[in-house]
C-alpha cells in the first residue's frame, strides 16, 4: 500500500481574525489535505471577535467555538505572537508555502482632518474599543473620564458600542469580560451624558436597528433625540420611500418613537443623538474642552447619492472633556505586497492579489477587510472567504500555484525559533483560554482577560501556577 501523500498544498493565512478563521475553515472543507498555518501578531486568535465585539455582546463571542472546531481542532496550526513583515517576511513565506492569504483587516482609523483632533482627550473610538477589550498594545492608554460630557463622532456600530460602554452601569459591566483596567476606570467615570453626532440625517444613520434599539433600552439611561432633528427633509423622505432599506425605515420609526418619549427624572445617564451635525473644530488649551459643530442639510449629488451639505450659520459649541472619533477603520500597507493607496485594500480580483500591471500575483490572496474594505458584518467574511478559497482551488487545479523551494513545516519552525522565541501555538492559546475562563468562573464573569503581552506569554508558556486569587 502506498502511503498517502503527506502534504497537500501548504497555505499561510496571515491574521487569525474572523476573515482568516472563515478562510481556514472553508479551505479545510474544500481541500481536506491542505496544511494551514494561521499566523497572528497577537498571542490570541479571533481578532475583532475578541478585541472588537463589545463585552456586553457575549452571545456573538460564541462564534469562537465554531472557529475553534472548524480550524484548530481540524489540524490548522496557530502561530501566535508572530508578526509577518517583522518576524518573517513575505518573501520568506513564499519560500515555504504554496499560497499566502492576507487577512490582516484594517488596523487603523480614518481621521477627521479637523483642528484639535490631536488634543489630549480626543481619541479614535477604535483605541477606546481596543483598551476596554484588553488588547495588549492598548492597556496603558489613560482615558480621562472626569468630565460630565463625552462626544462620540459617527453613527455606525462602533459609535453605538462605545456609547453603550460609556453609559452602562458598573453592575452591568462587571458581568462582562471587559478588561479589568477598563472596568476600574469606568467604575470611577463621571460622565453623565454622551452626545452622538451624525453627519447626515436619521434616514442615513449607519446603525443597525438592533444597535439603535439597544441604545434606547439601556437600564437607567435616558435616550434623547430632538423631534425636529428626527423630522425628515423632503429629499430624505423621498429617498426613504423609493430606495430606503428595511433597516433605514426601521431606524426612522425607532427614532420617532424615542423622540416622543417623556423626560425621565430617574435616569442615571443620558444619551443624546444629534443628526445633521458635523464637527468643525475640537477646542481646548491643553486638552479637549469643547467641540464646535455645524449644521448640515441633505442634498442629492450628481451621482444620485445623498450627501451632507453645510448650512451657512454660526457654529454651535458643545462643552465636553472626551471626544471619541468613530468614522471608520482604514487598512495599512503591508511590506512587500502591492497596496491600493486610494481604496486602502490589497488590489485584487475576487481575492487574487494583483500586481500594479493588473496581473494576478501567483499564490498571493486577500480576504476580509484588506480585500474589500472595512464593510459588512461578521458573516460577510464567510462569503468573502468562500470567494477567495474558490480562486485558490481553481489555481491549485490549474497548477498555477508557485512551487515553494523549502516546503517543509520543519523549515518554517526552525526559522521562527531563531526569530521569535515566544511563538504561541495552540496549546499555549488553550492555556490562556483555560486561565481566563477559570478566573471568570470565580468572579461570575464570562472570562477575565489577560491584558498584557507578558502575562499572556507567561500563561501560554505555562510559566505561572494557579490563577490569581479573587480580589473581591
Amino acid at each position: 500500500m502506498t502511503p498517502r501523500t503527506r502534504t497537500g498544498p501548504r497555505v499561510a493565512i496571515v491574521g487569525a481574525g474572523p476573515a482568516g478563521a472563515f478562510t481556514a475553515a472553508c479551505l479545510l472543507r474544500a481541500c481536506g489535505n491542505a496544511e494551514i498555518d494561521l499566523f497572528e501578531r497577537l498571542p490570541t486568535p479571533w481578532g475583532l471577535l475578541r478585541g472588537g465585539v463589545a463585552p456586553d455582546h457575549q452571545e456573538i463571542k460564541r462564534l469562537e467555538d465554531t472557529f475553534d472546531r472548524q480550524t484548530l481542532r481540524r489540524g490548522c496550526r496557530f502561530l501566535g505572537n508572530v508578526e509577518v513583515g517583522v518576524d518573517i517576511s513575505h518573501g520568506e513565506l513564499m519560500r515555504h508555502y504554496s499560497a499566502v492569504i492576507y487577512a490582516t483587516g484594517a488596523q487603523t482609523d480614518k481621521s477627521l482632518g479637523i483642528p484639535g483632533e490631536d488634543l489630549a482627550g480626543s481619541w479614535a473610538a477604535t483605541e477606546f474599543v481596543a483598551w476596554y477589550n484588553g488588547h495588549p498594545d492598548y492597556r496603558d492608554l489613560e482615558f480621562d473620564l472626569s468630565a460630565k460630557r463625552a462626544v462620540v463622532i459617527g453613527n455606525g456600530n462602533v459609535a453605538a458600542d462605545v456609547t453603550r460602554m460609556l453609559t452602562l452601569s458598573a453592575a452591568e459591566l462587571e458581568r462582562t469580560d471587559i478588561a479589568d483596567h477598563a472596568l476600574d476606570a469606568l467604575r470611577a467615570s463621571s460622565i453623565e451624558e454622551v452626545v452622538v453626532l451624525g453627519r447626515r440625517g436619521p434616514a442615513q444613520a449607519a446603525f443597525t436597528s438592533a444597535e439603535l434599539r439597544e441604545l434606547g433600552h439601556l437600564d437607567g439611561v435616558q435616550l434623547r433625540v430632538d423631534a425636529d432633528e428626527v423630522e425628515l427633509d423632503p429629499v430624505s423622505r423621498q429617498w426613504l420611500a423609493d430606495e430606503g432599506t428595511f433597516t433605514a425605515r426601521t431606524n426612522v420609526e425607532l427614532l420617532r418613537e424615542f423622540a416622543a418619549r417623556p423626560e425621565r427624572a430617574d435616569a442615571r445617564r443620558r444619551i443624546v443623538l444629534r443628526f445633521l451635525r458635523s464637527p468643525l473644530q475640537i477646542r481646548g488649551a491643553e486638552r479637549v474642552e469643547a467641540i464646535d459643530v455645524r449644521r448640515n442639510e441633505i442634498a442629492r449629488g450628481h451621482d444620485g447619492m445623498l450627501r451632507a451639505r453645510a448650512v451657512e450659520e454660526d457654529a454651535e459649541r458643545i462643552d465636553c472633556g472626551l471626544v471619541l472619533r468613530s468614522v471608520g477603520y482604514r487598512a495599512v500597507p503591508l511590506p512587500d505586497v502591492p497596496f491600493d493607496e486610494r481604496s486602502y485594500v490589497l488590489p485584487n480580483a475576487r481575492g487574487r492579489v494583483l500586481t500594479p500591471a493588473g496581473e494576478a500575483l501567483p499564490g498571493v490572496y486577500a480576504v476580509g477587510w484588506i480585500k474589500r474594505g472595512p464593510t459588512g458584518i461578521l458573516g460577510t467574511n464567510k462569503r468573502d472567504a468562500e470567494e477567495t478559497v474558490t480562486c485558490f482551488v481553481e489555481d491549485l487545479a490549474a497548477a498555477a500555484l508557485p512551487d515553494p523551494p523549502d516546503p517543509g513545516r520543519e523549515q518554517v519552525d526552525a526559522l521562527l525559533a531563531e526569530r521569535q522565541p515566544n511563538v504561541v501555538a495552540v496549546d499555549g492559546w488553550r492555556a490562556i483560554a483555560r486561565h481566563e475562563l477559570e478566573n471568570g468562573r470565580r468572579e461570575r464573569r464570562p472570562r477575565v482577560k489577560l491584558a498584557s503581552r507578558e502575562e499572556l506569554l507567561d500563561v501560554a508558556a505555562q510559566r505561572t501556577g494557579a490563577p490569581a486569587a479573587v480580589t473581591w
Binding site: H57, E59, I60, R62, L63, D65, T66, T208, S209, A210, E211, R213, E214, H217, T245, F246, T247, T250, G376, I377, L378, G379, T380, K382, R383
Partner: protein
C-alpha cells in the same frame, strides 16, 4: 408556533444552509441581502424542525415560546419584514 431570529444574527448563512424548506430570507444574491442587518424566518413556511437553532453559531434563533422578553421586538420586526416582501420574492429564493 414558529422560530424567530434576534438582532445578534451575524448573517453567516449557517441557518439557510440547513433549512429543509428554504424559509429563511433574504438569501445571498437577493437584492436586499447585502443591506439586511439580519435574516428572518418566514412563519408561513417554517416547519418547526429546529435545524436552524442547532446550526446557528451565536444562538440567535429561538422557538417562539422560548423567546426571551428582551427580544420581544423580533416578532414584530419579522412580521413587518415579511409584510413588505412580496410573494414573488419569497418563492423566487
Amino acid at each position: 408556533m414558529t422560530y424567530v431570529i434576534v438582532g445578534s444574527c451575524i448573517k453567516d448563512d449557517s441557518c439557510i444552509e440547513v433549512c429543509p424548506v428554504d424559509c429563511i430570507h433574504p438569501k445571498p444574491g437577493a437584492p436586499d441581502f447585502e443591506t439586511a442587518e439580519q435574516l428572518y424566518i418566514d412563519p408561513a413556511v417554517c416547519i418547526d424542525c429546529d435545524a436552524c437553532v442547532e446550526a446557528c453559531p451565536v444562538d440567535a434563533i429561538y422557538a417562539q415560546p422560548e423567546l426571551p422578553e428582551k427580544y420581544g421586538y423580533a416578532l414584530d420586526l419579522n412580521d413587518r419584514f415579511f409584510g413588505e416582501l412580496s410573494t414573488a420574492e419569497r418563492t423566487a429564493g
